[in-house]
C-alpha cells in the first residue's frame, strides 16, 4: 500500500496545518523527527539546514517547503544507489557475517535471507556461530529445517571461531553459493566479546581473503540513540558493510539510521517486517522516509 509517492501525501498533513513556514512549523517538524528516533543532533542540523534553504529560496508557503524536506531526508539516505544492495559474487562463494547486540534479530534475519536465496536457486549454508546463548544453535537449526538448508554447528560452549573455520571449509568443499554466519548477540561495550568477534571475522578472511563479503549489522528499529554507539563500535571492530533494520512492523520508526548514515555512512540494505520467512525486504529510502511521518 505504501507507494513511492506516499511520503508526499503524509507530509501534506503537516503542511495543511501550517500555511506559513514559521517557528511553530519547524517545532512540529522537530517533534515528528525526534519522536521517530532520528536523534536531536541530526534533527537540529536538518532543521537549521531547512531554515537556511527556506531563506535562500525565499519560501514562505508551507507547501513549498515540502519538496525541500523530502529532498534533504532522502539525500541523507541515498548517497548512492549502488551500495544499498547486497554484494553477491557470481559463481563464487559469498560469505555474509551477521553482527549486533542481543535480541535484535540476527538469527531470524539469517533464516529469512536464507529463504530468499533459496528461492533464487542458490545453494545456501548456515553457520551456528552463537555457541553461548541457551537454545541459539537449536533456533538456527529450526530455521535451517524450515528453509531446507544445512547448518554447520558444534557443541554449545565451543569456540565460535572454530565453528566458522569448519563452516567455511564445508562451504568450499560443498561448492556452496552463500554462507550465512550467525554470531552471539553482544553489547558493544563488552571489550572481550568484541575482540572475540574480530577473531571470528579474521578466521573467515584467512580462508578467503575478501571474505566476509558483507558484514551486516542488525539493528532493532525500536532502539533509540544507542544504535549510533552500536554502529560506531561494530564498524570499528568488523568493518560493517550494511545494516539490517528489523521490527519495522511495529510502531517504532528506526529514525536513528538517518543519523548513522549521516555520520558513519553505513547504508541500510534490508529491513525486517515480521517474524515469518517472507518478512525481509530491500530497503527503500522513499518508503522509509514516508514511514517517519505516518502514524
Amino acid at each position: 500500500s505504501k507507494t513511492r509517492n506516499s511520503f508526499v501525501g503524509a507530509m501534506n498533513d503537516l503542511v495543511k496545518n501550517y500555511r506559513t513556514v514559521d517557528e511553530d512549523f519547524f517545532e512540529e517538524l522537530e517533534e515528528i523527527l525526534i519522536s521517530a528516533d532520528v536523534g536531536v543532533h541530526t534533527v537540529m542540523e536538518l532543521i537549521d539546514d531547512l531554515k537556511d534553504e527556506a531563506r535562500k529560496r525565499n519560501i514562505q508557503d508551507a507547501k513549498d517547503i515540502q519538496p525541500v524536506i523530502s529532498e534533504k531526508l532522502a539525500e541523507l539516505l541515498q548517497k548512492s544507489d549502488q551500495e544499498s544492495h547486497l554484494l553477491i559474487k557470481e559463481n563464487e562463494l559469498t560469505v555474509i557475517l551477521f553482527v549486533g547486540v542481543n535480541g535484535v534479530g540476527k538469527t531470524t534475519s539469517i533464516g529469512k535471507l536464507a529463504h530468499k536465496f533459496k528461492q533464487e536457486n542458490k545453494k545456501v549454508l548456515l553457520a551456528a556461530g552463537d555457541t553461548f546463548r541457551a537454545g541459539a544453535i537449536e533456533q538456527l537449526e529450526v530455521w535451517g529445517e524450515r528453509v531446507g538448508v544445512d547448518v554447520i554447528k558444534q557443541q554449545a560452549g565451543s569456540d565460535p571461531a572454530a565453528v566458522m573455520f569448519d563452516a567455511i571449509q564445508s562451504a568450499k568443499s560443498r561448492k556452496v553459493d552463500i554462507l550465512l554466519c550467525d554470531t552471539a548477540g553482544r553489547l558493544q561495550n563488552k571489550v572481550n566479546l568484541m575482540n572475540e568477534l574480530e577473531k571470528v571475522k579474521r578466521v573467515l578472511t584467512k580462508e578467503i581473503p575478501d571474505a566476509p563479503h558483507e558484514v551486516l549489522l542488525v539493528l532493532d528499529a525500536t532502539t533509540g540513540q544507542n544504535a549510533m554507539s552500536q554502529a560506531k563500535v561494530f564498524q570499528k571492530a568488523t568493518d560493517v558493510t550494511g545494516i539490517v533494520l528489523t521490527k519495522l512492523d511495529g510502531t517504532a520508526k528506526g529514525g536513528i539510521v538517518l543519523a548513522i548514515r549521516h555520520e558513519l555512512d553505513i547504508p541500510v540494505k534490508l529491513i525486517g517486517l515480521g517474524e515469518g520467512l517472507d518478512d525481509l525486504y530491500e530497503f527503500e529510502a522513499d518508503q522509509f522516509v514516508h514511514g517517519l511521518f505516518s502514524d
Binding site: V101, G135, T223, G224, A227, G250, T251
Partner: protein, 308 residues
C-alpha cells in the same frame, strides 16, 4: 559532541548564576534548555520531557538559594530529585499470593529479554527467598523458545513445564498451575512469546492467559535501549493487561536508558528489577537515583553538589 555530560554543558549557566540570591527565570530557562537536550539524547520520550521541563521550571523559579549551594547547583539538585521521584522508590519486591502458588507472567516485545529474565527471576526467588519456582514454556511460536527455557532450567537445575509447541499457550498456562499445585511449587513464572503491542491476536492471547491463571504479577520486560516508542509499547501493554511492574534489561550496556522514565511515566508501575547481563545471576534491584544520574550523564554533577 553527542552524549556530552550535562555537567560540562551547564558550566556556563552555573557560572552566570553564581552569587545570586534567588533563582531567576531566565537562568532556569537557559539551564532547562540543556536539560531538555540531555533527556532527549537519553531517549526519554519527548512528551514526557516537555512536561518534566515545565514542572521543574515551575518548582525552581523564585526559590531562595540554600546556603550550601550555588543557584546552578540548586537547579541541578531539583532536576535530579524530580527525575528520581519520577522513577519511583526502590522496589525490588515481587508479589506473594495469599494462597500459593504466586503466579508471575512475563510479557513484552520480541527480544526484550523475557526468557532470560524468567531464568534470572527463578534463581533470584530460590536463592534470596528460598522459594521453589516452576518455569513455564508458553512461547510456542519462536523457533526453539521452549528449548531455550529448558536449557536454562538445566543450567539452574530448575524445573520447566512444557507441553511442546502444538498446545495453545492458554492451555499450557492452565495445566502449569495445576502441576505447580500438585508439586507444591510456590511460584509459577510464565514465559510468554514476544509480541508487538499492536498485534491484536497475540495481545488477545495474553488476555486469555491472564483470565485463566489470574496472575499476581504481570511484569513488562523492557529493553533499556528502547527509544521514543517505549511509551506506545508500555501504554498498550498496560491498558490491555494492567501490568504490575517493569523489568529493565540490558542495563549492562552503555545506553543512557531514558526509556525507564518514559515507561514509568505512562504506566505508573514500579520498575522492579534491572537486567545487568546475560547470565542468570545478573539481576539487580533497580536504583532510581543511580538511573537519574545515568540518564543525565551527571555523576560528576552530583559529586559537585555533595562537595558543596
Amino acid at each position: 559532541m553527542a552524549f556530552e555530560g550535562l555537567a560540562e554543558r551547564l558550566q556556563g549557566s552555573i557560572k552566570k548564576m553564581r552569587g545570586k540570591g534567588k533563582v531567576a527565570e531566565q537562568d532556569v530557562k537557559e539551564m532547562m534548555r540543556e536539560v531538555r537536550l540531555a533527556l532527549l539524547e537519553a531517549d526519554v520520550n519527548f512528551k514526557v520531557v516537555k512536561k518534566f521541563v515545565s514542572d521543574v521550571k515551575e518548582r525552581a523559579v523564585g526559590q531562595d538559594i540554600l546556603d550550601s549551594l550555588t543557584p546552578g547547583q540548586q537547579v541541578i539538585k531539583i532536576v535530579n530529585e524530580e527525575l528520581t521521584k519520577l522513577m519511583g522508590g526502590e522496589q525490588s519486591k515481587i508479589a506473594t499470593a495469599q494462597k500459593p502458588p504466586t503466579v508471575v507472567m512475563m510479557v513484552g516485545l520480541q527480544g526484550a529479554g523475557k526468557t532470560t529474565t524468567t531464568g534470572k527471576l527463578a534463581l533470584h526467588l530460590r536463592k534470596k527467598h528460598n522459594r521453589s519456582p516452576l518455569m513455564v514454556a508458553a512461547d510456542i511460536y519462536r523457533p526453539a523458545a521452549i528449548k531455550q527455557l529448558e536449557t536454562l532450567g538445566k543450567q539452574l537445575d530448575m524445573p520447566v513445564f512444557s507441553l511442546g509447541d502444538q498446545v495453545s499457550p492458554v492451555e499450557i498456562a492452565k495445566q502449569a498451575i495445576a502441576k505447580a499445585k500438585e508439586e507444591h511449587h510456590d511460584y509459577v513464572i510464565i514465559d510468554t512469546a514476544g509480541r508487538l503491542h499492536v498485534d491484536e491476536n497475540l495481545m488477545g492471547e495474553l488476555d486469555e492467559i491472564k483470565e485463566v491463571v489470574s496472575p499476581d504479577e504481570i511484569l513488562l520486560v523492557v529493553d533499556a535501549m528502547t527509544g521514543q516508542d517505549a511509551v506506545n509499547v508500555a501504554q498498550n501493554f498496560n491498558e490491555r493487561l494492567g501490568i504490575t511492574g517493569v523489568v529493565l534489561t540490558k542495563l549492562d550496556g552503555d545506553t543512557r536508558g531514558g526509556a525507564a522514565i518514559s515507561v514509568k511515566a505512562v504506566t505508573n508501575t514500579p520498575i522492579k528489577f534491572a537486567g545487568m547481563g546475560e547470565k542468570s545471576d545478573a539481576l539487580e534491584p533497580f536504583h532510581p537515583e543511580r538511573m537519574a544520574s545515568r540518564i543525565l550523564g551527571m555523576g560528576d554533577v552530583l559529586s559537585l553538589i555533595e562537595k558543596a
